[in-house]
């Protein structure tokens, strides 16, 4: 426990003073400023003339404004933050020959990897809290709407999901830094993984669904079941991407008007009926119930990857050379 905190403290100091971190933080800082400004001014124009707008505050995070929303930005580039924080965690210690020195001190070997992971998660948390506060603060002055307790609750849940999402990629990159001795190899492997799971699965799920349940324009009318099969296959496959899990989860949490993660096609008649009948926003708890599987899966894969890194690291032979 104590060894872990010492390692974590050292890692934090390293991160905060590294050029890499300063660059990363500057980029994210600029982007959140731009997002907040863009969305804030856009919202002000839209809300002009509305008598009593509701749940405006969260629109700061979900509205795409002119380019993209914060949610989309984190979904795309959050993984990169995780990868940047972890891709050289273990193999750098190996190449500077400090690893054998550290583990010959009276600490458990897992303290090294736990401390590094904890430091990464701390940095991620600091970063995300800073971004959310920044956007909130700017948004407050730009649109002049104060968030209610429910909106704050939604933001906190959003924050927690985002921390797990980025930590997942931190875990993946730490795993690669254990598996590959070469720092460049582990960075490239992590980036390749990110591209595959974030972009290729989204495209690939459509193609795979075409193969599992092929549809053509002529047979749709005769065989509507096929269309549903196709849609289900695509849906299931796309959920293999952590980015889909994250985007669906957080948009539902931050947008109370979203009452389902399904497409219209896959809804039952009753669900469609209730959607058109009830126009009010969902309460917070119901939004959470809706995407609970998403949140749990995201937490589970984060833990799974950390557990794999943990086991691989503990089993590795450590030589001085």
């Amino acid at each position: 426990m104590k060894g872990m905190l010492v390692i974590c403290r050292k890692e934090l100091a390293d991160h905060f003073s590294s050029t890499r971190f300063i660059l990363l933080f500057t980029v994210i800082f600029m982007v959140s400023l731009v997002t907040a400004y863009m969305v804030g001014t856009g919202l002000r124009e839209e809300l002009q003339g509305m008598t009593k707008p509701t749940l405006v505050f969260l629109l700061l995070f979900t509205s795409t404004g002119k380019l993209f929303s914060l949610i989309q930005f984190i979904a795309f580039f959050g993984p990169l933050i995780g990868i940047v924080l972890g891709f050289d965690a273990i193999n750098k210690e190996r190449s500077t020959r400090t690893l054998s020195k550290i583990i010959s001190q009276p600490i458990y070997r897992d303290a090294v990897i736990n401390g590094k992971f904890l430091a990464g998660v701390t940095i991620i948390t600091v970063m995300l809290v800073a971004i959310i506060l920044l956007i909130s603060g700017l948004g407050l002055t730009l649109i002049g709407v104060v968030p209610g307790p429910e909106e704050i609750g939604r933001l906190v849940i959003y924050l927690i999901i985002s921390i797990f999402y980025i930590s997942f990629w931190l875990g993946v990159s730490i795993l690669f830094s254990i598996l590959f001795r070469n720092i460049a190899t582990s960075a490239l492997a992590a980036v390749a993984c990110w591209i595959f799971f974030s972009f290729f699965i989204a495209i690939g799920s459509g193609i795979a669904a075409d193969m599992i349940a092929p549809i053509d324009q002529n047979s749709i009318a005769a065989n509507p079941e096929r269309l549903i099969q196709h849609e289900q296959a695509r849906n299931i496959l796309s959920l293999f991407s952590p980015m889909t899990l994250y985007s669906e989860g957080t948009t539902t949490i931050l947008d109370p008007m979203r009452k389902t993660t399904q497409t219209l096609l896959l809804m039952g008649p009753m669900e469609r009926l209730s959607l058109s009948r009830f126009q009010n926003p969902l309460p917070l708890l119901q939004s959470v119930y809706l995407v609970f599987p998403h949140i749990i899966s995201l937490i589970a894969i984060t833990m799974l990857f950390f557990a794999i890194s943990y086991i691989v690291f503990l089993r590795q032979e450590i030589r001085s050379t």
Binding site: T96, E317, R319
Partner: protein, 252 residues
Amino acid sequence: MDGQHIIDCRELTKIYGTQTAVDHLNLTINQGEIFGFLGPNGAGKTTTLLMLIGLSEPSSGSATVCGFNPTREPLKVKRVVGYLPENVGFYDDLNASQNMHFVSRLNGIPEDIALPRITELLSIVELETEKDKKVGNFSRGMRQRLGIAEVLVKEPQVVFLDEPTLGLDPDGTARMLSLISSLSREKNITVFFSSHLLDQVQKISHRVGIMLKGGLVACGKIDDLAKEKFGVDQEIHTLEGIYMKFFKEGSK
């Protein structure tokens, strides 16, 4: 532990895949002595060291270091044993005393005890004027001396030094060797070190062990080994002569 033997290996064996790195090694080291560990590259010296400090698990056999089993109680062993790896690494962007503070924190030494101890150790290894310089700018000799200081932060009973004089200039080697012998003399620390510089080992070691192909082919005082190999009447015997004789016999 029977009071005398601070390190005791019994049938210690390490097998990597099909290759036997250390083959049924039996070795005892007495409290406070300097033990020179010799042998050609790849003879299994480093593997033996790693097993003795609990970084590597023996395939069979067992060892006792300061009364503890390094496989089952690695933390207890690491608390009393210092290890200087071959080509020790440092955090190059930290300075000498920051590097030492990090190691002392890993050992759980309170800051108020650590600070004077680190200052003292840096002056023993003659680095007190360089303590605020980044280790990245250190020369090889300075790095090795800093490595020794780091090992001593935890006030160990035994130190394992793997090739402490590798790549040092003659002056650096001499300073390193006098440092090692003063550890045993002044602090009663048992020193277990491996080296290729036979004449240097001869100067400071109380006993030597020669390792060949994973086994210990000779172990004892240099004079005794010389008598065994060259006979009593041999006047001049160097460790080099003994080593080469064992080496040639072992390679047959």
